[in-house]
Symmetry: C2
Subunit: 393 residues, 2 copies
Amino acid sequence: MINEKMYALGATKSKIRELFEYGKELSAKIGAENVFDYTLGNPSVPCPEKVTSVIINEVQNPSIHGYTSAQGNLPVRKAICNYNLKRYGFELSPELTYMTCGAAAGLAITLKAIISSPSDKVLTFAPYFPEYKVFAENAGATLITAPCSEVFDIDAKLVKDVICSDVQAVILNSPNNPSGTVYTEDALISLASLLQSKEKEYGHPIYLIADEPYREILFDGAVCPFIPKYYKNTVICYSYSKALSVPGERIGYVSVSPSCDNAQKLYLAIAGAGRSLGYVCAPSLFQKVIELCVDEVADTSIYKDNRDALIKVLNSSGFTCVNPKGAFYIFMKSPTPNAEDFCDYAKTLGLLLVPSNSFGVNGYVRLATCISPDLITRSEQAFIKLGKHYGLI
Amino acid sequence: MINEKMYALGATKSKIRELFEYGKELSAKIGAENVFDYTLGNPSVPCPEKVTSVIINEVQNPSIHGYTSAQGNLPVRKAICNYNLKRYGFELSPELTYMTCGAAAGLAITLKAIISSPSDKVLTFAPYFPEYKVFAENAGATLITAPCSEVFDIDAKLVKDVICSDVQAVILNSPNNPSGTVYTEDALISLASLLQSKEKEYGHPIYLIADEPYREILFDGAVCPFIPKYYKNTVICYSYSKALSVPGERIGYVSVSPSCDNAQKLYLAIAGAGRSLGYVCAPSLFQKVIELCVDEVADTSIYKDNRDALIKVLNSSGFTCVNPKGAFYIFMKSPTPNAEDFCDYAKTLGLLLVPSNSFGVNGYVRLATCISPDLITRSEQAFIKLGKHYGLI
């Protein structure tokens, strides 16, 4: 027999993947220069030179490709904790840090470690990264969402309306994909206060999973608060995909805050979930890369330049959006309530945009800015046509 | 809350891992030269030089670390199918091949793709690799085992006694960890015939999962039959950990035989399971390495030399074992029925051996031969003392 749920997950292409493939077909038909693909969140900058030189150097070591312990080599776990201490003044523990094949793996195993009853729920904030639902369901839970404020910040009052005693974990993604919002310190303080009071009321911990692969991509002096400082039951899921621009290499970590309730037990459950899901260890060469490049960041300034250039084009075409303070996305208001219809029309002009339905909200579209700058220039006329079609200019 | 089952999996160290850590402590106490660690199946030979040169060359490509499609880049999937066609005369399909983070990931997602009811069972042959139970249970099934013959070959008659209509998948691991057996062609033909008749009787496919990471490590002219030739409903789970001696890099593949019932549907379910378990893609640099080094094999001749040298030492100490024809393990008879007691005593002599209980049978111990040859020489006196203690010499 074949598992119908897994089949459905494999057979149903994500909207983003579908658009990506449509774009390839369209390019073949009308020429790649007439297709303006804003769909894919694939970091477009090279990795830091040091990453390359470390790899070239380390592959001379005959034991570099060997198995590591399941939680990862101790030196890389120490390097990560030292870095976070230096940068955020918060002491994580190497003994509570677990190397993973990227943040997706980290989220999948952390949820699996926490969820224990079919009635359990995982809460996140809409708009949200669509795979959260997949990972929550794999762990046996249901994903529920709280809406964000009009500027896509967390609003504790709105969270209060949906939270219930079945919520065991909350996923927080800042800077956010798809909105580009960096949740403000005030919003996080209110959220932490709400969760703490709910923990008391419900009589069980509510783990806050900080999924922060974009934390190094910030604009205009924005600050991304370090969650363990604000809320004791925090688990960090980090990926180097964006900071080092190595998304295909699948390297990241989970770190259980030492102040967590049952920190050691949760850490062991995460290790057990890693084992259960077939994660033997994180890739060994890249564990060494992280150890030696932990404080490197790829030059991501192009994402800001692209943001500025694209917002200019969008505004001059009559569209509006909140100015994102991080990550590499712009979340633009659709001029019609049905964003899917809007995206379908945009496609006819060669503009590939992702409708916000994929992210759990209606009426917006996501544009990725991890693109070549000339794409923005080349697509300007298409955006103007689009704005005119909808009577915006 | 914390998932108690995941906690138990993380907290209960595997016997092998426990012994490995005991060995480290013992080394600190009595000196590494007095500890003889035969526990860990960590390939001890360097990777082929071409792997190193490909890495050094490919890291110059700025897009080498980018996301690949979830099933992996097409060129590497094609290279794998071409290699298997050339080597085994059997045509696999790139469209049914899915790159994975090693064989463990492959097994975890393949089982998740097949298992759909809590009554489902997965069958394997004892002795077996202990994580099979973990992966089967993660998929929601129960693992059941059929005993092997006295020389650890598959015996279809013994399988007939345990197979039942709940069995949806059978895991076959040849050359076998821990026994080193290469299942014979005759045994596989009998097994295939039994499974085919049971498929008819039960009215559903029984997928045979060929987990064969050791298939390139064969001795004395042994031949490892290519399972898809013998049984149509075969899914291959392969890892390059041993063939290229890169176990920490987590690179392998799943390939659904094109002759499988519902091959396309099963493949999509595998893709869905990969997505569900957080496997975004297999590491991108190593996908390129496999594409360009698909027909390379590390120099594994030392495993045969070690096997020969260690068997000589064991025999001269009074111990007996079946001569393994592949992989890098010796499965030796314990002189007392309780192999755990035997291993505990061996530890006092600095000899770290894995009791066979971990592998689902009693009365044996596993010795890994992926070791430095001088370990065998250095440990000879300890084996002699051990043999004398048990009155074998």
